[in-house]
Symmetry: C2
Subunit: 339 residues, 2 copies
DNA sequence: CGGAAAAGCGGAAGCGTTTTCATCCCTACG
DNA sequence: CGTAGGGATGAAAACGCTTCCGCTTTTCCG
């Protein structure tokens, strides 16, 4: 095992194997014809020297960087964490690197990312997750002329992976209606979804449609909150405090909010589901522990699907955009019953 | 605004500004002397053309890729999500990209990452967060000869950012002892920390030391569990079920486990803190909502500190390794009282 | 005012890789 | 047996950028 002051190049490998750099490259990349015996010699030499391709040099000539960019406003929230892990899983199998850009809404660095970071040809394609970009950002995104896949609702007119948020909330609401509930509140998010994610607004609309369809327009109400466990807890503490105005059923914008609501109910001594039925959306990893009835989605699978969609389009950029709507299903647990 | 069939190069910018590529490069990178008027012309031309440097070509010649790698076994858990966001924040300010490698323990792709991904000179330095690498992996990491910073306990002999896990658990335990508790259990993690993170084992040791110091060795006990909210919930359900063997105080390996324990206690009708005191470690974003007494740490700040440590060493590789022990502090809330 | 130093700039080399093109040799087929 | 075809290989160009080197011009100071 020879030691190099600096990393060995393909020239070093070629010399050690007694071939030209061209042949060494062919042997190692698998492109072009090379005799089996030669290939073995090259591979042996490469292993012996601890050779690893310099991805920058390779990218320069091929124009492919073998990485994809992921832009997301959050990594800590369950949905995004799961999506990210799914993307990673698919990318690692394809030997692609993942370059992460965290763009919290309204931060200065967010503008930097769009203006400065995204244009450097560091990646071959891009996945935007749960992003609600403004016009300028959309422009900058399309300007890149890179294959793009969107996850989680916002429709850029490109390939897209999502659930039907509208239908998910409708199903959740209809579940409560079928159980006999009439006074059903929707908890979480803000009215137009500007401050939360784009899908949240669609879920609210799905709830409203189900209510209207059952002739319950009058009873529709929306309690805004931050989209988080404490957010749900806080708003539920207010909403459930007065027994006279308390609804019998709650549809939460997502499981995190639903868990906050469940916790608040417990704290207030309100029995779930006897006195209050709660249904969430997500099937969060804690949903089972809280016995939460919810509409299941699989963000991990969505991440994988998005990455695969993107990888396909890296291989063949002429492929038309594809829209994948992932299935959802009601998961019945112990947080809902007849009123 | 001229449109290019392909992205404009620095040659295009130079031509538009009426200078040589060399001068254009100097003007844009800020290295080397260039007249103010010339710089302005070049910058104007670059903006007009929508020029953005090809980072691969630049990396090839400078040997710096302006990216750093982050290796972590999780992104969804609170601690790692916070760390990741902190790292991002610091890196974005320095115009560095973040390349993420998710290495779950025992997966095939983990081996791939160490064998294949890490050696491609895609990044200039590396941060490992909460990793418990085996010997081969440590070898591969040091083989890279790249500046490295470790977060969260495992000591590779390099620069490092961490809290004193041992002391944190000791403080938590002593808090209960001072309140008058004697029968105190430690919940979460496995004995040697092999399956959970490295710091968890140190926390267990800190608990044991505090117990021993108070002459309570005999009463020391450790209830193993997955390090998660459901994990804490599950083990607490068993531990608290039998009133005769129920401890009066619990030290949880982290707040996620502690929250699981609190929830289990509520479900079992055990009053916190009247019948059971619980103290966590972390100051998780949900700790306040659950009224959890805990030992606070700030993973977001640790992420920032680690990134800064690394960036400094990128600028001057001769800098000696530095070990930053971040402070912790007991945060008193409503989950602890005298027994 | 004269000379030294510094500033400003262009030409060209070079980073490590892939790929085109040309060459050589072997096989297979008429 | 002659030749077409294809497999295997090497030489060299090219990718886009930064930087070294050298040249000219300006500035500064005694």
């Amino acid at each position: 095992m020879e030691t190099f002051p600096k990393s060995p190049t393909i020239g070093d490998v070629a010399r050690a194997a007694g071939v030209s750099p061209a042949t060494a490259s062919r042997a190692l990349t698998g492109r072009g014809a090379v005799a089996p015996a030669t290939r073995a010699r090259v591979e042996y030499a490469a292993a012996e020297l601890g050779y690893s391709v310099d991805i920058n040099a390779a990218s320069l000539v091929t124009g492919r960087s073998h990485a994809i960019g992921v832009v997301s406003p959050s990594v800590g929230r369950w949905f995004f964490g799961e999506v990210l892990e799914g993307i990673q899983e698919a990318l690692q199998q394809a030997h692609y690197d993942l370059v992460l850009y965290h763009v919290r809404r309204g931060t200065a660095s967010r503008a930097d990312v769009f203006r400065y970071f995204l244009g450097r040809r560091r990646f071959d394609g891009i996945i935007v997750a749960g992003l609600d970009p403004d016009m300028a950002e959309v422009e900058q995104l399309t300007q890149l002329r890179l294959p793009l896949v969107s996850i989680g609702g916002y429709d850029l007119g490109t390939s897209l992976v999502s659930i039907d948020d509208h239908a998910a909330a409708r199903v959740a609401t209809e579940h409560l209606i079928q159980l006999g509930h009439r006074d059903i509140a929707f908890v979480g998010g803000d009215p137009d979804g500007r401050k939360s994610s784009f899908g949240d607004a669609k879920r609210l609309a799905g709830y409203r449609e189900a209510m209207a369809h059952a002739g319950l327009d009058e009873l529709s109400r929306h309690a805004q909150s931050e989209v988080s466990v404490p957010g749900g807890y806080q708003v539920a503490t207010g909403l459930l405090g007065d027994q006279r105005t308390r609804p019998t059923g709650i549809v939460a914008v997502c499981d995190e909010v639903a868990i906050g609501v469940v916790t608040a109910a417990q704290r207030l001594g309100i029995s779930v589901p006897n006195e209050l039925s709660i249904v969430g959306i997500d099937d969060h990893e804690h949903a089972e522990m809280f016995g939460l009835t919810t509409v299941r989605q699989r963000p991990h699978e969505q991440g994988i699907a998005a990455a695969q969609l993107l990888l396909e389009r890296l291989g063949d950029p002429t492929l038309p955009p594809e829209r994948i709507i992932e299935p959802t299903a009601l998961a019945l647990r112990a947080s809902t019953s007849a009123p």
